[in-house]
Amino acid sequence: MNIQEIRRQFPILDQEVNGHPLVYLDSAATSQKPLSVIQALEEYYKGYNSNVHRGVHTLGTRATDGYEGAREKVRKFINASSTEEVIFMRGTTTAINTVAQSYGMANVSEGDEIVITHMEHHSNIIPWQQLAKATGATLKYVPLQEDGTLSLDDVRETITSNTKIVSIMMVSNVLGTMNPIKEITKIAHGNGAVMVVDGAQAAPHMKVDVQDLDCDFFAFSGHKMGGPTGIGVLYGKKKLLNNMEPIEFGGEMIDFVGLQESTWKELPWKFEGGTPIIAGAIGLGAAIDFLNDIGLDEIEKYEHHLAAYAMDKLSEVEGLTIYGPKDPQKRAGLVTFNLDDVHPHDLATVLDSEGIAIRAGHHCAQPLMKWLNVSSTARASFYLYNTEEEIDRLASGLVKTKEYFSDVF
C-alpha cells in the first residue's frame, strides 16, 4: 500500500488546524471521503439527478441504474446471495431499529430473551430495551472478560432456548475487540435464535462474508467507510425478510394501494419507503470501488500494523491506561485510553490545539464505561490513510499534554 498515494485521494487531510498539519484520528466516528466518492456525488447531481423506479425519462433510468448498481456493489462487498437481501437505510442505527421493530415485534413475546453484550454501542442496546419493554421479554447481557473480550463459555451460558434474538457488534468501537461472530452465530442458531450483527466498525476495515458468518442480519454505515453520511445497509436473509412487515409506509414501497388495504413491493424495495437515498447509495458504491481497488485484506493488515505500532508507542507514555485487548492481533485499528487524571475533554482540547483530532467522551457506550469504571475515555482511531508519523505526533502530544497540566496545576 502506497500511503502517500492514498492520502492524495483525501484532500481534507492536506490542511493545517490550529497552525499544525491535521492529524485525523477519529475515523471510527466518521471516515474521510476519497475524491472518487466526492466526484461520484457531484456527477450524480450535475449529470443525472432524478427520482428512481418511476420516471419513464432517460435521467430517471440513469439514476435507477446508478442506485441499483450500487446495490449490486454492496451485495458483492458482503457476499450476500442476492440483491433482494440488501436494503438501503440511513445507517446502522436505522437498520437495527428496523430489525427490532419488524422482526422483533412479530417474533418476540413475554418470557422470551434478547441477548446482547456489555460492550455494545447505544444503537445496539436501546432498540432491544424498547423491544423488551414492549413485549415483556428479558434483555440479557453477556459479561466481558478482564481484557474486554467475550468468552464463548459465557456466550453459551447466556443464550438459552428462550432466546429469540442475539445482537452483537463485530468490532467494538471502544475496546477494539474483534468478536467471534461465526462461533456466536452457531450458538445462537443452536438455540433457535436469530443472529443480528452490528457491523459498523467491521465493514470499513475487513472482509465481511455474510454467508460465511451465517448471520441472519448484518447492519453497517456508509460514512465510516469513505461513503457519504445518511446511507447504510441492512442485510437480511431472504427467508426472514420475506416474512417481515415494513415499518415505514408510503411511496416507493407499494405494489397496489386501495382505500382500505394496500400491498407491498417485493424485496428489497418493500423496506425502502419514500424517495430513497439515491446520491448516498451511489456514493457508497464509489467508496466500495475505492476500498476494493486497494483490497480489504491489505487494509486490514495495514490497520493491524498501525494498531500494533500505536500500542507500542503509547505504552511508552507514562501514566497512560489503555483499555481493551493488549494483544494487537486481537484488536482492530483503534486505541482507547486515559491519561492519569487529565479529563479526556481537556486532553482532546490540548491535542486539538496541536492539530490532532481524537474523540473524547463515552463513545455512545455508557454501559461499557460503567463496566470500565470510568465516566469517559479518549480514543484514537485509524484508517487506511493514517501513518506511523501521525501516531508519533499523538504520542508526543500526549507527553506534552501531561507536562502542560502538571505545569498549570
Binding site: 475533554h345 481537556d346 490545539s353 463515552h362 469517559s376 502542560y404
Partner: protein, 144 residues
C-alpha cells in the same frame, strides 16, 4: 510546541477551582437538581438552600472535565448569599460571556471572569454552562 492559546482557556484560577473545588458536597432538605451533558457524560448534582428569596447555601457534586467542575465551583461560590434575582442575572451575564456577546460588566463576577477564554473554544462552552443550567432549573423548580 507552544500552548499560548490554551493558556487563555486553562487559567490558573480555573485549575485551582478544579483541584480544590469550593462547596463540594450535598445539602440535605434542599432543592436538588441532577443534570448531565449527554454528549460527553459530564454530570452535576446540585443542591440549593433557598429561603426568603435568597440562596442561603449551595453545594455540588459530580464528575467532568476541568472546565465543567471549575465552573460549578465558581458558580456556587458566587451565588451563595445572593437574592434569587441576582443569581438569575449572573446566569444571564455568564451566558452572554460564553456566547462572546457584550455582557453587563457592572456586576462583580469574581473568579468567573477567568472563564472568559472558554468562549474561544466552542466545543467546550457546554462544559462551562452545565452547572449554571442546573442552577436555573433548581431555582425555577423552587419558585413553582
Amino acid at each position: 510546541m507552544s500552548f499560548n492559546n490554551l493558556d487563555t482557556l486553562y487559567r490558573q484560577v480555573i485549575m485551582d477551582h478544579y483541584k480544590n473545588p469550593r462547596n463540594k458536597g450535598e445539602l440535605s432538605d434542599s432543592v436538588t437538581v441532577d443534570m448531565n451533558n449527554p454528549t460527553c457524560g459530564d454530570r452535576i448534582h446540585l443542591t440549593l438552600d433557598v429561603q426568603d428569596g435568597i440562596v442561603q447555601d449551595a453545594k455540588f457534586d459530580g464528575e467532568g472535565c476541568s472546565i465543567s467542575m471549575a465552573s460549578a465551583s465558581m458558580m456556587t461560590q458566587v451565588i451563595k448569599g445572593q437574592p434569587v434575582e441576582k443569581a438569575m442575572k449572573l446566569s444571564e451575564v455568564f451566558s452572554d460571556m460564553m456566547l462572546g456577546k457584550e455582557y453587563d460588566d457592572s456586576i462583580d463576577l469574581g473568579d468567573i471572569e477567568a472563564l472568559q477564554g472558554v468562549a474561544k473554544f466552542p466545543a467546550r462552552i457546554k462544559c462551562a454552562t452545565l452547572s449554571w443550567k442546573a442552577m436555573e432549573k433548581g431555582i425555577g423548580n423552587q419558585s413553582e
